[in-house]
Symmetry: C2
Subunit: 332 residues, 2 copies
Amino acid sequence: MNSRELRLKNRPTGTPSAADFELVDVTLAKPNQGQLLVQNLAMSVDPYMRGRMRDVKSYSAPWQIGEVMQGGAVGRVLESRHPGFTAGDLVSSNLGWREAYLSDGVGISRIADPVAPPSAYLGVLGMPGMTAYVGLLHIAALKAGETVFVSGAAGAVGSLVGQIAKLRGCTVVGSVGSADKIDYCQSIGFDHVFDYHAGDLPGQLRRAAPEGLDVYFDNVGGDHLQAAIGAMRVNGRLALCGAIANYNATAPVPGPNNLMLAIGQSLTLRGFIVSRHEDLRADFMRDMSAWVTSGQVKYRETRYEGLAQAPEAFIGLFSGANTGKMIVHLAD
Amino acid sequence: MNSRELRLKNRPTGTPSAADFELVDVTLAKPNQGQLLVQNLAMSVDPYMRGRMRDVKSYSAPWQIGEVMQGGAVGRVLESRHPGFTAGDLVSSNLGWREAYLSDGVGISRIADPVAPPSAYLGVLGMPGMTAYVGLLHIAALKAGETVFVSGAAGAVGSLVGQIAKLRGCTVVGSVGSADKIDYCQSIGFDHVFDYHAGDLPGQLRRAAPEGLDVYFDNVGGDHLQAAIGAMRVNGRLALCGAIANYNATAPVPGPNNLMLAIGQSLTLRGFIVSRHEDLRADFMRDMSAWVTSGQVKYRETRYEGLAQAPEAFIGLFSGANTGKMIVHLAD
């Protein structure tokens, strides 16, 4: 079968460009005994992937030059000679950035009884959804009635953080990068939303939460993290999830100049990687599936069409081109 | 009775100087009914007091210009018309920076059955000791066998952090500011000690703890915090206790430029103020009294003599003039 895949061509300096990727035609063999052939329906592009473009040891291994990249994908089994899979099964994998693949089943999970379309398993019911759930409820240990601030509030993770916090009876403040995103966040229940382009983040936070913040869910880093530290109440918790403001930096970025407040305010800053919290997956899938089914949690996708557009979709993450989850749609 | 007290004369910019303090003669009345008269035997100077010289809201209220300063002290009751105290009692208070005081007993605690000389209740058995205990065992949640790094390792807090960690079977790395302090830390059981003046903190830590750090107890901030973040193992914990490197800064100091590692390494940075952990006081007093009595924990003091030397003792904290607890001895 013919397929196409995207390979890493160059390690970018600063913001990635389309020239850093190469689209290549490949031919896949028929499955042997113990193998299955999968057509990807949708693939994920996520900010953390910027780290995999660097040749440094990190929590996810660097992509190799000239090799097909990896990332979340949802696909359908076309043909199976593997006992665990049947043609027609919906499966999730880390074998994105390609239209189809042959697999021995390792790292491939069946999605049984889906409650939402396939691409939702890359977002609200996938890694970003679990990131929001684990970060807010476990890492930041959110309590009912608290005041929560989330940056990147219209993004795949941020939009879910805000909704989960509302379900827990919290006051939710979000920062976004456009008027449309303000509207979107308000439509899903945020109490206060502002556009960070207006500047004066400390003042924005003071106005949105005059009594201060109990929890900050950080997707952005940089000025956002500094402003949040300055706005935290005593015993506040900061879940450090991402720092997209720094991902394309070409030199070390100074940290928050008010980190000393962590002492006087007894703050906890806790970084996390969702893949280290698999023990919470069953809880997450149960709760989030129920919330999506009941309509208590809403989600949105920004879709790019076809594998050739995947680099553009990925690069768009760094200019805020997405509202909700950025998805590359590959097939129906 | 005649006494002397030190008042804040100016709010310093940068490092404090003797001219920021004023030594004043005062006369104390005889105690009325319900009052007691106390002669201070020793008073404490501590790095956190630098914050009280600033006119900013913080966890401890600012000292006021022209008023006598406050701080830890241990004294002896000279005369009591208060039902809770008897002449001869040893008492601790927050009424340091003076030779004697009249009190209605509020905030004064009797030290019953002391296991060490009075000044020890300003150090190993006082606030610094409890800071080490709470920070290491509760905030950083130290586990047996881990690798711990403490900065300011020869100081009042650091020297106890190292010894408590050794009692828990840990490997202990310390940084200090002189060859004498290296010797001192080695004499109390530290496994690796280096002088930070040699530079290359990341390299020093790599050599001292090639497998990385599980816990960092931060008394210093600045380069030390940044180097420690870079050396932490996955799930490492950083207890943020002090940042003496920044206390005299006249402009905001950039934070660690590698704070993003907290995400990939799943680090927890937790600031604390010992006074918010009074629930642990009984545990601390029981354990530390036993360790001091048995000789399992040793302590040292750097003594200045007389109230007039208190400013010099305080200022000396910022140049590392002390090994162990800095004490101003006032009377026997």
